[in-house]
Amino acid sequence: MSVVAHEAKESAWRSRELRLGPLALTLPAVLGLIVFFLAPLAAFVLYSFLTAGLFSVSGPLTLDAYRQAVSSGVNGTLAVNSFVVGICAASVTLAVSLPIAYWLRYAAGRWQTLVLFLITSTLFASYLVRIYAWRSILGENGLLNSGLERLGLIDEPLSFLLYNRFSVTVALVHIFLPYVVLVLYAGLQPLTPALLESAEDLGANAWKRWRRVILPLVAAPAATAFLFVFVLSAADYVTPQFLGGTNGAMLGVRVQAAMTGVGDWPLGAALSLLMLAAFVLCYGLTALGLRLLRLDRIRFVT
């Protein structure tokens, strides 16, 4: 077929696409998400400005719910707790995942497939099961304490392991570690071993290679992963409920209590939106930081 005829056919095929075609296929899903996702979110935003009834809302628009949310000292403490736990969980997860992703990418050799499979297979462990497992392990009569006692390493059970921010963080790290390892491993794919050898050849020892080559190039995926863990951890309401005690109490529990316990929906909505606003702020600051450092959109050459 001549070049001209082929190009004519190609643009006919393309314009068929532009007219209707593929985009229409997304319609059912789009409708579904608008109805069942966007609309509820919109309603939810609206509710935060309404007056509370018992498991209902009414009446005039008001900022009462927000006033109530920010004026409570307890909420302040919980917010700080949530923030701290979120930061700790995200930091520890990232700090542990980086060496693992590095090993998988550069040092694993024929072990790579097996270890990757092992790590991803822990994703199958249910969220609740992990919480239950850690509660069983860290408790005073739990597996860790009874094991240490039997081994003669301690005389009395360690009580600081459970019902505090530490146990909540441990469980959250356990939950998010596989995700972050996978994200970082994917982020390291474009960094060829030759690239690192080049850096070494130019005088960079291991630490300098990390600082000057690996970290900058993996900054964007790492920041995304960090935010992912931070947001989902800070908003968690189940983990603190079972593992947090008083020290580890978090804002998410308050929201849940407001919605299903007390029935004060505007308060629940207001608290949630304040949290959401804080998260959006974090996303924005991170994106800005990456852009300022020119690490946000790195184009690799094959």
Binding site: L195, E197, E200, N205, R212, P216, L217, V301
Partner: protein
């Protein structure tokens, strides 16, 4: 001239497999030495041993007399240009070139000047703010060259730096490399499987086959006087004819193969028995009449721009004889024609037959 780089009895094994076997080499300051051989012969392994990425099973690497065999790559005053671009994507050209300088703690004021000089050397002045994805293949390798040379390494290693480029760019880059080498006076160790490239660039060539050094010499030496059948076949085109040495008569021997019977100056230590006769195609003459040489039939003819390449079947010889004649010297001979194949006996070489010769 002193020895910049000395390799002593380098042997390297991967499990049972021997990649390098007792390789010894001395490279002088300012030379451009090429390690030439087919894929898998060990030349890249040898280069990486010099760079420090591989620790040899046995042997030593001496840089200006200092034993660096165990030194990590970042501790050696040696830099490498890789086969594919390894420019850091998050840095612009300036920062890429400055990378080694910054790590070494070179003062800020000096960095700017040295980077500018390096970029001027590879003729990329003005490209400082560009990024890797904005550069062509040739430009990428030029930046890599600048990035390596700016550190003033004792030896510059180049691992087939042109093999990923298009032919035309490759030829331009060869000229660039020669110029840079001349202007800097640095010591280059170059690895390639392309013998044409090796002949064009090198002061000396090290022909490597299956982990062993076959021959070391200038391009001219290797071309005119290959020391082994492998070297003869690998470097430049060659006719390698199996012959029988039948008579020794003082300074000359008589060799026969089919109808061919020649008296050739006797190489040292060669006695009767099988041997190889090496003749370059450029030195083979085809005549359409006369009695010279042996009769043959033209089997193939190809136009090469500068002349014609022939393959001529000669009875008694296992492979067709390759001949090259320039367009001016004679009109082309048709396929199927009878010709007389001859060459000057002084222009060919006799090599002893080794077991394992292909």
């Amino acid at each position: 001239m002193s020895d910049r780089l000395v390799l002593e009895e380098i042997t390297h094994r991967y499990g049972r497999e021997v990649a390098l076997d007792g390789v010894s080499l001395a490279i002088e300051e300012g030379e451009l030495v090429t390690l030439l051989g087919p894929s898998g012969c060990g030349k890249t392994t040898l280069l990486r041993i010099v760079a420090g990425f591989v620790r040899p099973s046995e042997g030593r690497v001496l840089l200006e007399g200092r034993d660096v065999t165990r030194a990590a790559p970042y501790r050696r005053p040696v830099n490498m240009v890789f086969q594919r671009s390894t420019l850091f994507p998050h840095l612009d050209v300036f920062e890429n070139v400055a990378f080694g300088l910054r790590i070494a703690g070179v003062p800020r004021g000096e960095v700017g000047g040295r980077v500018a000089d390096a970029l001027a050397l590879v003729r990329l002045h003005g490209f400082e703010r560009r990024r890797a994805h904005e550069l062509s293949g040739g430009q990428l390798q030029r930046v890599a060259l600048a990035r390596a040379l700016v550190n003033r390494p004792k030896v510059l290693l180049l691992d087939e730096p042109l093999s990923a480029l298009d032919l035309k760019i490759r030829l331009e880059m060869e000229a660039e490399l020669r110029r840079v080498h001349r202007e800097t006076g640095a010591t280059f160790v170059y690895v390639t499987h392309d013998q044409r490239e090796a002949l064009a660039l090198s002061d000396r060539i090290v022909v490597i086959n299956e982990g062993r050094v076959e021959q070391i010499g200038t391009p001219d030496e290797i071309y005119r006087a290959p020391a082994s059948v492998f070297a003869a076949r690998f470097v430049g085109d060659a006719n390698v004819i199996p012959v029988e040495v039948v008579g020794a008569d003082g300074a000359s021997v008589t060799v026969v193969a089919g109808d061919l019977r020649l008296a050739i100056r006797r190489p040292d230590g060669l006695g009767r028995g099988p041997a190889w006769l090496v003749v370059r195609p450029q030195l083979v003459r085809l005549a359409q009449n006369g009695d010279a040489g042996v009769p043959g039939v033209v089997r193939d003819l190809a136009f090469r721009g500068t002349g014609f390449s022939y393959r001529v079947d000669v009875p008694g010889l296992p492979d067709p004889v390759k001949a090259e004649m320039s367009a001016e010297s004679a009109p082309p001979v048709d396929v199927g024609s009878d010709v007389r194949v001859s060459w000057d006996p002084a222009a060919c070489r006799l090599l002893p037959w080794e077991p394992g010769d292909g």
